[in-house]
Symmetry: C2
Subunit: 594 residues, 2 copies
């Protein structure tokens, strides 16, 4: 491609609203242009990188026996009602009325449609296993689109779905997919960690995320220094901790006035204690019901679930919900938001003593929050706290009732925690961008939608499923975040928009002829090359080439030509090298392989 | 690909609602599956053919210097309001409120977004000309999705847009694009006619449609037997016709009672005259206004436009609107639908005499409707007609007032009409499927959205634009409609899902080894091959292969193997041939080139 025939609107200034490197550079280098919040044009360079990443994904999906399909983005709402995901996706799901008044959704994921497809086409174990995938545009009504291409409303995804007669077969495909993902990201030149992950609204029994670690990441990962464990904070378990609900009291329970202090850190500062000496008490409304049979051993019908964690810790809602279900038969909870109820609880100043003694509450205390004798807690009245709270002295008899109170892990892991492998490993934190996610779905969707197969005895079973996503655009973000420098982007060859830019100092006379010739030769041997035929100062051309980050620049100047040499520079190299005219192509090939 | 790893749900019966061959066969052969009205899953075979067509389109766009982009489907309504197309697309445009209440549209075409892109990135004549294209999923809220993939709500299109400083430059790209379209359809193995077309809601000064002629086509084309003219009926001009408003009357004006006759044909039958002896009179409401300056020569402010055509002809609204604008300064018209007004006009029984004498009406009489002396027309009263109407005797003096009445071409061309080339050519009719459309847009969008460039004297002008679409899925429809036979589909090699199917009679023992070997060899030399490794009767495998329409089938049987021969059959050939094992690959290559 000639530069003059493409559209590469580079700019010198970062866009005002671009806070992360990938957003700044992909805009500045003319890869994308924002149309509206969370919606981008992919310009020629951006699309070329996107298509190269897409093709790598496709090849690796084909290599493990995946068959490519293309499923619609427009779907009837009724399909989503069959699995209840019309509710669980909530406002993230775009909905519209068509001209006849039917509600149509514009979707972010395809479990329902692929299960419907399997319902209509698969009926025998002989047709299993089967892996279908697509590379398709998804839509998601993000509450707050942000970080450039990271949180957008329209994006390209690869989503794959596998179908099995046995869980062993699912395990096999899950492992194949896991290995394919590692190959994909390695081919794209990215360092990626696979971490244990929570399944979230997709559901299922096991899942891993593939994370590119970089500062701009929205996710927090915890990684053991033993190198044998990594997980998303949402999913991360913590190694064994003990808890004795503290020892003997260290002082009188003392009420203190703490007005105009917006958070725990401010209260701790005022009281001159560390935040880790405070207890954070959150009150949730119990919603949904479980079967009575499951609830028989627990409090008959709790109305509130109270969580207590140390002041410097955060509640992990996935852990909280699992524990609430396991110990108290609670189906689901949500933070109370009714203002009257919040006032009656004195939210922000709740003391765990009240929760333990409230007949309609059940309480989950994190192990660390139960493991000291002297705490500062809310005083059950606005703008007041108490000092020297002691669980055994001040919480009352109900503390020992296992139908009422449990001391268990309900918080997010943090740096310094023991690894859940319990091998002496210590966790550290990283930020990461989620590039891919693999799930063992089990039969959640096949049962909801009646996707069954017959075994060799003609007996019917629900199909066992897995699903596997990659955000193709996020591969570009991760490369921009992790491989750029002060001059701009620096692409791995595999996903560079062009591998080589040929830059004549002036596109005229002998320089034009030499540039044309090198450009033609490189393209002829399959090296993807762009010719900078613009009438621009050399400095501007070089700055654009560095900003865009082509892996190799070949510069054709008149002085060099007189001496029979051409300047060749790898984007990553500090210096250019002068190469004899006849050796240019070979040298470029070497640099691209390096 | 192994058949067992793909999903190819062939079926023996036509789907109940499938009325056209392409719909029947693409479903039966497992290329697509309908999810809901006008929304389809592309299954593995369908997607492979689609991607091959897409790649041919991409290569030819690149060959004429197009740069590929990918623009969003989600767009703010405000963008469409800038060009007024939020109104002109009407209910065909999907609209929805996002979670913050903003109206977002899901679009069928990208003139607005590409013009916005050019506004933000192009400012100098040095950046022109430029051709951008994309291959992207479009959405259209069809009133009545039908004919399988032909009228759908979600579909893949290639849309290209070109930008120019001069109209000569637009002409050049328009011609390049026209030639590229001819190459694309030829490479896809389709016979396609380029016809003159009306620009419709896209707008612009010139356009051509690329039509695959086949019975299932929704469009009517007129083609001259001289081979030098073809046009869509919406656009088709007619060669010179004369009109003298008839000669002397042939009988007394006679009123007849014609109750319970729903249409012209029924009236003509009752009166025992041919429909061509009747006049059809349609009444339109004048809507919109033109500048007073344009209207100064015409009737001050007509309220109705009346069109008169021969009973066997149909009004061409594009011609009617152009004539109404040219002769009477009327901006736009629509058929009256107010019931009171319809009753007052006695719609269905309007006589042209009333229209000519109505002070608020202007009248356009088609040349053929003005070219005889004896007509049957409405009697201006429900359920009544008059016989022996004669223009000169019965229409009154106003007939001669050119500000009031014009006798011009306002009808659709029909078979038998003279070619507009006026070279003695006679038009015939064909049905066609529109595969592509090219438009000279001019400055409609750049003026509306302020997309200007500066010339070498820093003077600003609106960018001149062209736009060019191809319905990629329709290439598959056209192939299915025009190349299938009683056994099923029959693909051109270029867009076949696989070029070759290798079919072992039984996938076992020596047959398995030989089939595996041929399959591997064909794929290794780049021949796209599928291996039918299913445990099925040979007859079922052959029937599926014919239904799907792979260009070549290689059958591996045990008897042949003993004799060292393999059966090779081209889908289009009547008979299979026995080929020596060593010659199979070469023979397949020959057949694919044929």
């Amino acid at each position: 491609m000639r530069w003059s025939q493409s559209l590469i609107p580079t700019q010198k200034q970062n866009p005002a609203d671009a806070k992360i490197v990938s957003h700044q550079l992909l805009i500045r280098a003319g890869f994308v242009r924002q149309l509206t919040a969370g919606v981008f044009d992919f310009l020629p360079l951006g699309l070329r990188s996107l298509r190269k990443a897409e093709q790598i994904v496709r090849e690796e999906m084909n290599a493990i026996g995946g068959a490519e399909v293309l499923l619609p983005a427009l779907q009837p709402l009724s399909l989503w009602q069959q699995t209840g995901r019309d509710k669980s996706y909530g406002d993230n799901l775009f909905r519209m009325k068509d001209r006849h008044g039917a509600t149509t959704v514009l979707v972010p994921t395809h479990e329902e449609v692929i299960t419907e497809l399997v319902c209509g086409t698969i009926n025998s174990y002989k047709q299993l296993p089967l892996t279908l995938y697509q590379i398709q545009t998804k839509f998601r009504d993000e509450f707050r689109p942000r970080f450039g291409l990271l949180r957008v409303r329209e994006f390209l995804m690869k989503d794959a779905y596998s179908f099995h007669a046995t869980s062993e077969s699912l395990d096999q495909t899950y492992n194949d997919m896991y290995a394919a993902y590692e190959k994909i990201f390695a081919r794209c030149g990215l360092a990626v960690s696979a971490v244990e992950a929570d399944s979230g609204p997709i559901g299922g029994s096991a899942s891993h995320e593939f994370m590119a670690t970089c500062e701009a990441g929205e996710d927090t990962l915890l990684i053991s220094d033993k190198g044998n464990f990594a997980a998303n904070v949402e999913k991360c378990e913590i190694g064994t901790r003990s808890s004795d609900l503290g020892g003997a009291p260290t002082g009188e329970l003392t009420r203190v006035h703490t007005p105009n202090l917006p958070g725990i850190d401010e209260v701790a500062a005022r009281l001159k204690i560390p935040a880790r000496q405070m207890l954070k008490t959150l009150v949730y409304t119990v919603i949904g019901k479980q079967d009575d049979a499951e609830r028989v051993e627990s409090l008959a019908s709790p109305k509130w679930l109270v969580a207590v964690v140390r002041g410097d810790h955060a509640v992990n809602e996935a852990k909280l919900k699992r524990a609430a279900s396991e110990y108290f038969g609670v189906a689901d909870v949500e933070l109370i938001d009714n203002p009257t109820v919040r006032a009656s609880w004195a939210i922000g100043f709740v003391g765990p003593d009240r929760a333990v003694n409230d007949p309609l509450s059940v309480v989950l205390i994190d192990l660390d929050a139960g493991n000291a004798a002297d705490w500062c807690t809310g005083a059950n009245e606005a703008d007041h706290h108490v000092m020297h709270f002691n669980w055994l002295r001040d919480a009352g008899d109900k503390l020992a009732d296992p139908k009422k109170v449990r001391v268990v892990d309900v918080r997010n892991a943090v740096a310094g925690d023991p690894s859940p492998k319990n091998d002496g490993g210590v966790l550290s934190e990283r930020k990461g961008i989620e590039l891919g996610h693999v799930f063992k779905l089990g039969t959640k969707y096949s049962v909801a939608m009646g996707a069954n197969f017959k075994d060799d005895k003609q007996k019917e079973y629900p199909v066992i499923m897995g699903c596997y996503g990659i955000g193709v655009g996020r591969i570009l973000i991760a490369a921009a975040e992790s491989l750029s420098d002060e001059k701009g982007l620096s692409w791995p060859v595999a996903i560079a928009p062009y591998s080589v830019v040929v830059t004549p100092i002036k596109y005229d006379g002998e320089m034009k002829d030499a540039a044309d010739s090198i450009y033609a030769k490189l393209n002829a041997i399959g090296i993807d090359t762009i010719l900078d035929d613009r009438d621009q100062r050399p400095g501007a051309k070089f700055a654009d080439a560095d900003l865009i980050g082509f892996p190799v620049r070949v510069t054709v100047g008149d002085r060099g030509l007189k001496e029979g040499v051409i300047e060749v520079k790898a984007r990553k190299a500090a210096e250019a090298e002068m190469v004899k005219l006849d050796d240019v192509i070979a040298r470029v090939q070497e640099l691209l392989k390096a």
